[in-house]
């Protein structure tokens, strides 16, 4: 069905077309960007079971431009379309037109990644999705070195992914394997191929000690882009573990589960502890991401079906609340000109809507029952425990306790306490900003109450 191809191509083409608008246009590009993102959302729902394929290579291995959602990637793609729509709607950066165009290209390339049913196409979009973020960091970032760190780290991951893909194709004879139940690879080469994939995924997630590109990137990117990157792009690695690691090389994920769990656990605790002492609000959320993604890595490494279902819920939940948090912090920074926890305080009195949005997102992040984060965490912990791993559950519980501490600290330092004199407290959320965050918060509540559709893997 051609609609599937359109889902990938439309945002990229629309992004290119937006460059044809007048240079200092804001409203049209913003509106068009939001409309395109909403359209991809609708198309995704319409084309849930559809596939589209055309032959690409037949030597040295078979490859095809094969697109279509898998049960896991469907939800991540929906999340991506939703986050993009929300983030683009309130973009207020310099050169808005170019930025919106980049956002759409970012969406398109990531949709290509999550819809790819062929490893080679997956690898292609894996590298391609770095480019818009690189340009985002070059054009709008706070420090040029950040762009480098982001690009070099992730491209190094992309290269091992490429080598692993080539080796997989040569040995298996085809890369048209994502979402196919019968494609397993075993043999002398398979552990190395798995290592190549795993390195790329771990850099992307990111997982300690490969995470050092992440805090400056998340801190430096403009908030609309960072909300999409942290919500969805970081999930590419986790999706890779589920759709490629567990599906194509399950023996090796199981065999090397322990080191993966240890890395996940270290990230979980390390991220949480560092988040506790950061004074940059964006970095608090960045390190909290590191911590939360560590939990998902533990779930994936356990290989347990329940844990995996929980991982999918938590992937969506984390996407929703981290996008909401970054967007709200972005609004805050636009108003106050700073995002330092030391300089801000007492904003909640004057800005109830801003405080409310931050509150819901933060509560979801710390795992309050009734919101999506809790469901994911609970199911993951049950699954991991059932798989016979006790110590990761204990580590995760410690991490969740620390999560409450840093999220409450974030909220309190920004919203409660005495008002700080020299920081101007400007207006509350506008109706448009509220409308942009509302879908994310609503989705957090809906998934928190009724996560059943996400659990049907």
């Amino acid at each position: 069905m051609l609609l599937v191809l359109l889902i990938v191509v439309a945002p990229i083409a629309a992004g290119a077309l937006i460059f044809a608008l007048p240079r200092n246009d804001r409203t049209i590009s913003r509106g068009a960007g939001t409309a395109v993102a909403i359209a991809t959302f609708a198309m995704l729902i319409a084309a849930r079971d559809a596939q589209w394929s055309v032959r690409w290579l037949s030597r040295p291995f078979e490859a095809a431009f094969h697109f279509g959602t898998t049960p896991v990637s469907f939800w991540i793609a929906l999340l991506l379309a939703l986050c993009t729509a929300c983030a683009v709607a309130t973009t207020r950066v310099a050169r808005t037109r170019d930025f919106v165009a980049l956002m759409l290209m970012l969406e398109g390339t990531m949709l290509g990644l999550f819809l790819a049913r062929d490893l080679l196409v997956f690898a292609l979009f894996w590298d391609l999705m770095l480019v818009p973020v690189f340009f985002g960091l070059v054009g709008w970032g706070e420090h040029p070195a950040t762009a480098w760190r982001y690009f070099i780290y992730n491209f190094a991951g992309g290269l091992t992914l490429l080598l692993a893909t080539a080796a997989f194709g040569v040995i298996y004879g085809s890369t048209d394997v994502i979402g196919r139940a019968d494609a397993h690879l075993v043999g002398a080469w398979a552990p190395w191929i798995y290592a190549g994939f795993a390195f790329a995924f771990l850099v992307k997630a990111p997982i300690w000690p490969l995470h050092t590109w992440m805090p400056p990137t998340y801190g430096g990117l403009p908030s609309p882009m960072v909300s999409v990157v942290s919500a969805v792009q970081s999930k590419a690695g986790l999706y890779g573990f589920i759709a490629i690691g567990l599906a194509l090389l399950p023996d090796y994920v199981r065999e090397y589960a322990d080191p993966l769990m240890v890395l996940g656990a270290i990230s979980l605790i390390y991220g949480a502890v560092v988040a506790l002492v950061q004074n940059d609000a964006k970095r608090v959320v960045a390190y909290s991401s590191l911590s939360h993604l560590g939990l998902i890595i533990i779930a994936v490494a356990s290989g347990n079906r329940i844990a995996l279902a929980g991982a999918v819920v938590y992937i969506v939940a984390h996407g929703l609340f981290s996008a909401a948090l970054f967007m709200v912090l972005g609004y805050l920074e636009e108003r106050e000109g700073t995002r330092s926890l030391l300089r801000l305080g007492g904003l909640g009195w004057k800005n109830p809507r801003l405080a409310g949005a931050l509150c819901i997102a933060a509560l979801a992040a710390l795992g309050l029952p009734g919101l999506a984060g809790f469901v994911g965490e609970l199911i993951i912990l049950v699954g991991v425990y059932q798989a016979g791993y006790v110590w990761p559950v204990i580590v995760a519980l410690v991490g969740i306790v620390i999560a409450s501490a840093y999220m409450i600290r974030l909220y309190q330092d920004l919203m409660n306490g005495p008002e700080v004199a020299d920081v101007p407290v400007r207006g509350d959320l506008t109706w448009l900003e509220g409308l942009a965050v509302a879908p994310l918060l609503a989705a957090l509540v809906i998934v928190g109450i009724y996560p059943v559709p996400l659990l049907r893997l």
Binding site: W56, S58, A123, V131, A147, L159, A166
Partner: protein, 475 residues
Amino acid sequence: MTLPFTGADWSAILPVSAIAVTALAVLIADLFSGRNDQRYVSIAIALLGTIVGGILAARQFGQHHDAFFGGYVVGGFTTVFQEIIVIATLGSLVLYGALGPAQRIAGMTAIMLWSACGAMLMAAAANLMMIFLGLELLSLGLYALCGAVDRRASRESALKYLILSSTATGFLIFGSALLFGATGSIRLADFVNPVLAMNPLFWLGAGMFLIGLVFKLSLVPFHTWTPDVFQGAPLPVTAFMSVATKAGALAVFARFIYAALPADAVQGLLLPVWIVAGISMIAGNVGMLAQHDLKRLLGYSGVAQIGYILVALAGGTPLGLRYALYYLAAYAFMNLGAFAVAAAISGDGEEGADLENYRGLARRRPWLAAAMTVFLLALAGLPPTAGFLGKILILASSVSAGYLWLAALLIIGTAISLYAYAKVIRLMYETSEGARQALEPFVPLAWASAAICAVLVVAMTFYPLTPSNVLPLVR
């Protein structure tokens, strides 16, 4: 006296002859053209003649004929290499549209056409004499072209190239003599004799022959001339050297290793070459890091890119040769495109090779910056460009041939190269105050060339390589 050649022999070299005659036509037309249109008359005739040569070469595709007693082979292999050389010549000729002193354009285009003839002869050469003839025709033209503008750097470049290249040619001709001594034949096809694998004279000859070729391919440790010569030579000549010379040398190299070595000697003789290719991928990319001049940068980049192409050949499989050709074609478009952008931002008398000229280009000329980004991404092997697909094909062929260490070196080299390419991209998209404000002039020929190359570099990625589409190239 009657020549022992048939009509088929003469028609075999028709594409080369057409281009050689075009060069004469350029010179004659220049005598009659006025001062103002001199430049465009020369370029138009040269382009037309080269296109005719390309069409004539394309018509030979699928034929097979050993012309001139097996010295000049007509076949799919020859055609593809000749087409790449034709494309390189076209892409370099258009750059003269904005660069170089007008009164010398005719001479320069004519010499470039003759050099192209030399490269095309190399692509078809199947005996040692023809290889040498092609190589000398190519090189002699380039010595003149390198020094064709009144700049100190240009003269230095010509002298450096003359001395070093002559030395390499010495190796090649000495190696040829030894090969002839060992085999009693100048035909490459006669070297396959397994008895030769025992003959030390053959080993010595083949080794020296390969050293000569490796110099022309500018692989480590014979690469140090490349950045200097590239920097000094006029931009169109650099573009030509970076693609056509390498295509010609690569054709000889591929024919030599595929069709002219006894099976027992292949491993022992070629292992050093693969090691050299591996080192080149690292050294070329490391060398790029510190460059502030686009021509030097692309010179080092070429060192590494040829290394990648050799990795595809390492398996010695026909499939590997096809991937090498795919990558070579892609490389031709990336490099020519990058040089076209460089020509487009050049002003009168100064060539836009200094990387400072690219600062903030995206603000002034967004389309040029976008095209340049495509070329640099392609050189780095990032999607959505042919460089990405080419690299994965090379990786696949080297993995299946068991050269995993080459694949690993390729990966490491690519990771290093990324920094150098991304540095240029970042410069173009930077929004700093120091950037120059004046708008670069609109140069139609260079812009068109850059646009065509950019489209092709992207389109080649999505071209499905099914068996009927992958050219049945090698015999």
